[in-house]
């Protein structure tokens, strides 16, 4: 028991002293996850909007497929991207394996379906009268789309926050495509796994505390947005 308490106190000290190694790991994690989330939002939000309002023949099948992708394990995505970017893969010459770019690609694939599916849910909940009102007030197709996006903004923001929470805490993709290289592709989750393997808990617990703090911050933001949306 005292061993755990000692680890916790040491971890708090590490966080409090802003340990450079810990900060480098946090920086890599945040950079990769933020780029992946923003890229996925840029694709996923318009895709979700288009799917929600389109009359595509296979729309229901597409939505079912999207929902299936939500349950895709990170290691499957890691393996899938690995086959493309490894030396023998078709993108091998680009030397992407074990880089932050590879991690971004993997995380992007992980959360695009999530953002798309949650955007579909968010804009589908927007009252149909907003579209009709915008049209009768003289809005063209784009202006009408912006009105609907605006009215569904809290749901869409919640989708993006959920996606960020998903990528910041994933380990499979970061480990398989990033390779856990110190100072370069080592993220909070891969570093924690490594420290656990080494039997050194102090940095692992410190990173766990930072991850928990980020998750808590995300959840508080999520609840605030949901609260505003419900009003």
């Amino acid at each position: 028991m005292s061993f755990f308490l000692e680890s916790f106190f040491a971890a708090f000290h590490l966080v409090g002293s802003l340990d450079p190694e810990m900060l480098a790991i946090v920086r890599v994690s945040l950079t990769v996850s933020c780029i992946a989330t923003v890229s996925a939002a840029v694709i996923g939000i318009p895709a979700g909007f288009a799917l929600a309002y389109s009359d595509l023949p296979g729309k229901r099948i597409l939505i079912t497929l999207l929902n299936t992708f939500l349950a895709l394990p990170t290691v499957v995505i890691g393996l899938f991207v690995y086959t493309f970017i490894s030396r023998r893969g078709i993108f091998g010459p680009l030397d992407l394996l074990y880089t932050q770019e590879a991690m971004v690609i993997g995380q992007f694939i992980l959360i695009v379906p999530l953002i798309t599916a949650l955007t579909i849910a968010a804009v589908s909940r927007v009252d149909e009268r907003y579209r009709r009102t915008a049209q009768t007030l003289g809005a063209n197709t784009w202006q009408t789309a912006l009105v609907i996006l605006r009215e569904g903004r809290f749901g869409i923001a919640a989708a993006v926050i959920s996606a960020f929470g998903r990528v910041i805490s994933e380990i499979g993709i970061s480990m398989m495509l990033g390779g856990n290289i110190k100072g370069f592709t080592r993220t909070m989750t891969t570093a924690m796994a490594l420290e656990y393997d080494k039997g050194s808990f102090t940095l692992a617990v410190a990173l766990g505390l930072v991850l928990m703090a980020i998750s808590l911050g995300m959840n508080i933001l999520f609840n605030l947005i949901q609260g505003r949306s419900a009003r």
């Binding site: 009268r129 007030l137 003289g138 809005a139 063209n140």
Partner: protein
């Protein structure tokens, strides 16, 4: 000048025809009322007139020009016509931003936009609400704000779907006066739907009654959903909500089964007769006088015979009969009083 002309316009959803108009003309600069029961096609017709819905078949002109259904053409047409929904929805922002929306997308400058916002808020008596959150207003205020949002765009045509439904009596009056003012001061053509024949008579210069998606040559009142059935003599009767049977001047084939339908009973072809001391007459139907009021050169008497039925009497007949509110009285129907508007599926 005719603002709209509609020829052979039909609107179908799957295999159901909700609107079927052979010919309709709507004059510019007037107030028009669309009357009809729920599901008669009033809102669909408003949607078509507002260029928000496209007819399944038919031809339509607006200000003498054929209506095209290309995206650009529809956008130009929509910018001349504004539809105010029965339950208008406000964008989740301020009152001011809601009114500015249509002006902003028309490229109007900020100072001019704010001038228009102030002007229309003054017109609807909501100046103090300028910075309020629009989606937190009451029903009556929302309806007035929706009118202000439409007015700001100075449309040629203002379409209102049941503008006073679900609004308190005070706001009903305010909205009715507003519609008249808008028409009188701006020359805006106003087309509104309503269930209230009196409101239609008070506001509108022209009234169109829709029954099952088709224009009907009735005054809307005394239109009832009924069961059409034959009595022992083979005489066709309409049973109104199972409470009262009225003969219809049509003979049914012998194998005719009861059918659901709608009938219209001409209020001018109903006569009143006092009940003598011998008791209630076996002919006609008996009811209680509920309301008496003057309407032009006629007297309107509303009698409860199980359903409320309107009788229009000329002043001489009224003086002779002098019905009293609360009095039991007999109603007699002339042979051609009842018109069958529609007889649909069999009543199982």
């Amino acid at each position: 000048m005719m603002l709209y002309t509609l020829d052979q316009v039909r609107r179908c959803y799957a295999d159901r025809t909700v609107l079927d108009i052979d010919h309709l003309e709507i004059e510019t600069g007037r107030i028009h009322a669309l009357l009809g029961p729920n599901g008669a096609g009033k809102t669909t017709l408003l949607g078509i007139l507002g260029f928000l819905e496209t007819p399944t078949t038919g031809r339509m002109t607006f200000r003498g020009q054929p209506v095209e259904t290309s995206r650009a053409a529809l956008l130009q047409l929509r910018r001349q016509v504004v539809l105010v929904d029965q339950h208008p929805i406000m964008f989740s922002t301020s009152v001011c931003n809601n009114i500015e929306f249509g002006l902003k997308i028309r490229g109007m400058e900020k100072t001019e936009r704010l001038r228009v916002v102030d002007e229309v808020l003054e017109t609807v008596g909501m100046r103090s609400f300028k910075c309020a959150a629009a989606h937190e207003l009451s029903g009556g205020e929302t309806q007035r704000l929706a009118l202000a949002r439409a007015l700001a765009l100075s449309p040629r045509v203002l379409l209102c779907d049941e503008p006073t439904a679900g609004v308190d009596v005070e706001n009903q009056g305010v909205i009715s006066v507003l519609l008249q003012e808008i028409n009188a001061t701006r020359g805006t053509t106003i087309i509104f739907t309503t269930h209230d024949r009196l409101q239609a008579a008070a506001l509108a210069e022209h009234t169109l009654v829709l029954e099952s998606g088709r224009p009907a040559a009735t005054t809307y009142e005394n239109s009832y959903t009924c069961t059409l059935l034959s009595d022992k003599q083979g005489q066709l009767c309409c049973s109104l909500h199972g409470r009262v049977k009225i003969p219809v001047a049509l003979l049914l084939p012998e194998d005719q089964q009861p059918r659901k339908g709608r009938v219209y009973i001409d209020p001018e072809k109903i006569t009143l007769a006092r009940i003598d001391h011998a008791g209630e007459s076996k002919e006609g139907v008996t009811g209680t006088v509920m309301l008496i009021m003057a309407e032009g050169d006629k007297i309107r008497v509303v009698v409860n015979i199980g359903v409320l039925m309107v009788v229009l009497m000329d002043r001489t007949s009224y003086r002779l009969q002098s019905p009293v509110i609360g009095e039991r009285i007999n109603l007699h129907f002339t042979a051609d009083a009842v018109t069958v508007l529609s007889a649909c599926q069999r009543d199982s």
